[in-house]
């Protein structure tokens, strides 16, 4: 059986009627995030879903009730598990439970949402085929308001259900998800568990709002009656494990951290978003398994901060995106465009950071700095560049100008000697500032790696850093625009606020490393920076840097699949 002949779940007919994009993301791309409404629905369904009640019929006051009946139909091409089938006076009818409250019509009588009606009707069609007798009506139980609403299966509704099945088949063969709902249906996006994946506002902004009424106001922000769908930024802590010799196990659903047989700490898994293992820490298989189930990624980093690899929960099943990625990133024109966007954003961010930190007394903005002027010139020249190699060259010139001034960014403390920076060096970094920069880039690379994996990209096929052996090129590409604003900024904060002193570093032979205490301070500052909220310059709402990484990765995905015409890099104001 191929994807196009697989039976469509009855549930999917509900989704496709509600929002075609929702259907595509859930059933073609297989993304299924859970939010409070989904979780509530599972709770209301637990009677039906529990195994011991399945396929057992109970009779109570003349009504026979069967729960969890699986039916499928080759002719219709659909299948489903029916919550409840009741039989009374020789008539059978489906009863479906929904978590929400029943909508009320103008007369104040409870009714049924259109999309739920389609689902219920599809169940009736299945029953008619399986049991060979007509099913004229069904019931929907709204757990939220505890109301049971009858529904007649009219011809119009049956046609609508057939149309939904056809629509599913049409959508299945598409390469990219259909457009988000237009502004007048935007209310449906609130409370949708996929809002953070679908990003309706951002996509609509990029394709130019299709509604002609706001042709001169492309952003939904300017439409007073449309509220922005702002997905909850992913919360939860990042757990860093760096105590040598400790081990992590799990009990029930919390992690237990032990050292020398003594319990050191317990961390509930639900409070954790990511785990970073730094150095010699053992993580048990059971713990890894549970983390994979809860979609918590585990990154392994050496004590020196080199990113070794990640343990990612089952990768996103997004094959069509990966196909599109390989196609798009083999096209030199597309690579050039993307490289330009990314380098433009990086240079602009470097210039901003430079101007901010070198703001002098006499000059309020710092734009008089020769390096700032130089980068400005490079930005102007970037538009005329015609090959990825010359973009690389421009990036290199920018970096030279930027790191030429980097030493001046560091505030020298009044007491004694602080930190010096002359040139950027690495592999290994030879002085504290370079060590910090390398460490920060490694952390950022780890987060970018996680972000591109979550979206479903292949992290090794990039558009800018091409063909570097064994490097997660795409993660590095995505990282470029964030280097100055996240990594460099953390380094400057740590040094200029005197959170770190030269005593927090060990220099051994040629290499310079952070001590344990220094690493602790570093992790705290890095996460603090990532949770800082900034306004996205294009979409105009506030989100944390951590979320921003994912948003940019998703927009890149939308570009790769041809949903939006351009990819815009993130630039701070």
């Amino acid at each position: 059986m191929s994807a196009t002949t697989d039976p469509i779940p009855v549930r999917a007919l509900n989704q496709v009627t509600y929002c075609p994009r929702l259907y595509f993301l859930q059933y073609v791309d297989c993304v299924m995030p859970v939010n409070e409404h989904v979780e509530g629905g599972l709770f209301d369904h637990r009677r039906v879903d529990s195994g011991d009640l399945k396929n057992k019929t109970r009779t109570d006051r003349g009504t026979a009730t069967s729960r969890g009946i699986a039916l499928s139909s080759e002719a219709l091409g659909i299948s489903g598990i029916l919550d409840v089938i009741e039989e009374k006076n020789g008539e059978q009818y489906p009863v479906e439970t929904k978590h929400g409250k029943a909508p009320h019509d103008d007369d104040g009588k409870p009714t049924i949402w259109d999309n739920d009606a389609v689902q219920l009707c599809a169940q009736a069609l299945l029953m008619e085929e399986a049991f060979g007798q007509p099913v004229p009506r069904g019931y929907q139980f709204h757990a939220g308001s505890r109301e049971r609403v009858p529904l007649e299966f009219t011809d119009a509704l049956r046609q609508k259900t057939q149309a939904a099945i056809t629509r599913c088949r049409e959508l299945q063969v598409l390469d990219a998800p259909p457009e988000p709902l237009p502004a007048e249906l935007r209310h449906r996006c609130f409370g949708c568990s996929l809002a953070s994946v679908c990003q309706p506002e951002e996509i609509l902004y990029q394709i130019g709002h299709p509604n002609p009424a706001d042709a001169d106001a492309p952003s939904a922000k300017t439409l007073p009656d449309v509220r922005l769908v702002i997905p909850r930024s992913d919360n939860g802590a990042v757990l860093y494990l760096q105590e040598p010799g400790s081990s992590v196990g799990k009990r029930s659903e919390h992690l237990v951290i032990k050292k020398d047989g003594k319990e050191m700490n317990r961390v509930p898994l639900h409070a954790v978003r990511q785990v970073v293992v730094c150095g010699n820490v053992q993580v048990s298989t059971q713990a890894l398994e549970t983390m994979a189930e809860n979609e918590i990624g585990v990154s392994y980093v050496t004590g020196h901060g080199r990113f070794i690899g990640s343990f990612v929960p089952a990768p996103a099943k997004n094959v069509s995106l990966r196909e599109a990625q390989f196609r798009k990133f083999s096209d030199p024109a597309a690579c050039l465009e993307l490289s330009k966007s990314v380098v433009r954003a990086k240079l602009a961010n470097q210039r901003t950071l430079l101007m901010r930190t070198l703001r002098g007394e006499e000059e309020a903005r710092g734009s008089h700095e020769p390096a700032a002027k130089g980068i400005y010139g490079l930005l102007a020249g970037l538009d005329r560049v015609t090959s990825v190699e010359s973009v690389l060259g421009t990036e290199g010139q920018g970096a030279a100008l930027y790191f030429g001034e980097f030493g001046r960014f560091l505030k020298q403390p009044p007491t004694g000697k602080g930190f010096d920076f002359t040139t950027r060096n690495r592999r290994p970094p030879r002085d504290p500032v370079n060590a910090l920069l390398s460490f920060a880039y490694a952390m950022l690379a780890k987060d970018c790696f996680a972000a591109v994996c979550t979206v479903g990209f292949d992290p090794y096929k990039g558009f800018f850093h091409q063909g570097r052996h064994g490097k997660p090129s795409l993660a590095l590409d995505l990282m470029e625009e964030f280097r100055p604003v996240i990594a460099d900024s953390v380094v400057l904060t740590l040094i200029n606020n005197e959170s770190l002193t030269p005593a927090d570093f060990i220099i051994w032979r040629d290499a310079c490393n952070l001590t344990d205490a220094g690493r602790k301070a570093f992790f705290a500052a890095y996460e603090q920076r990532k949770s800082a909220e900034v306004t996205h310059p294009v979409y105009g709402y506030r989100m944390s840097y951590a979320r921003m990484l994912e948003v940019q990765a998703r927009m890149l995905a939308a570009f790769v699949r041809g949903e939006i015409p351009t990819y815009t890099g993130f630039m701070v104001r």
């Binding site: 979780e39 599972l42 939860g236 802590a237 990042v238 757990l239 700490n265 961390v267 639900h270 996460e527």
Partner: protein, 90 residues
Amino acid sequence: MVCYDISNPKRLRKVARTCEDFGYRKQFSVFLVRVSPTDFVRLRSRLYDIINLDEDQVLFIPLTESALQRTEAIGRPTDAYNKHDVVIIL
């Protein structure tokens, strides 16, 4: 904050373990739980299925940020409350 009063030791252990999955133990039957709305629904439905609705009780008390800030303890020391709960370093 989640507090409970369970009359059966078997159920008590189950409730305690479930609470530990979501938050930090403050006292024997008092937990401080910081969860997203999703995880709250999850926690509530799990506890609902564990407890005996006639004999036991679980109390969910929502706390505001300012109420948490003004929390104090006398007697044995309690862990300092950390507002920026973004990183745990061990």
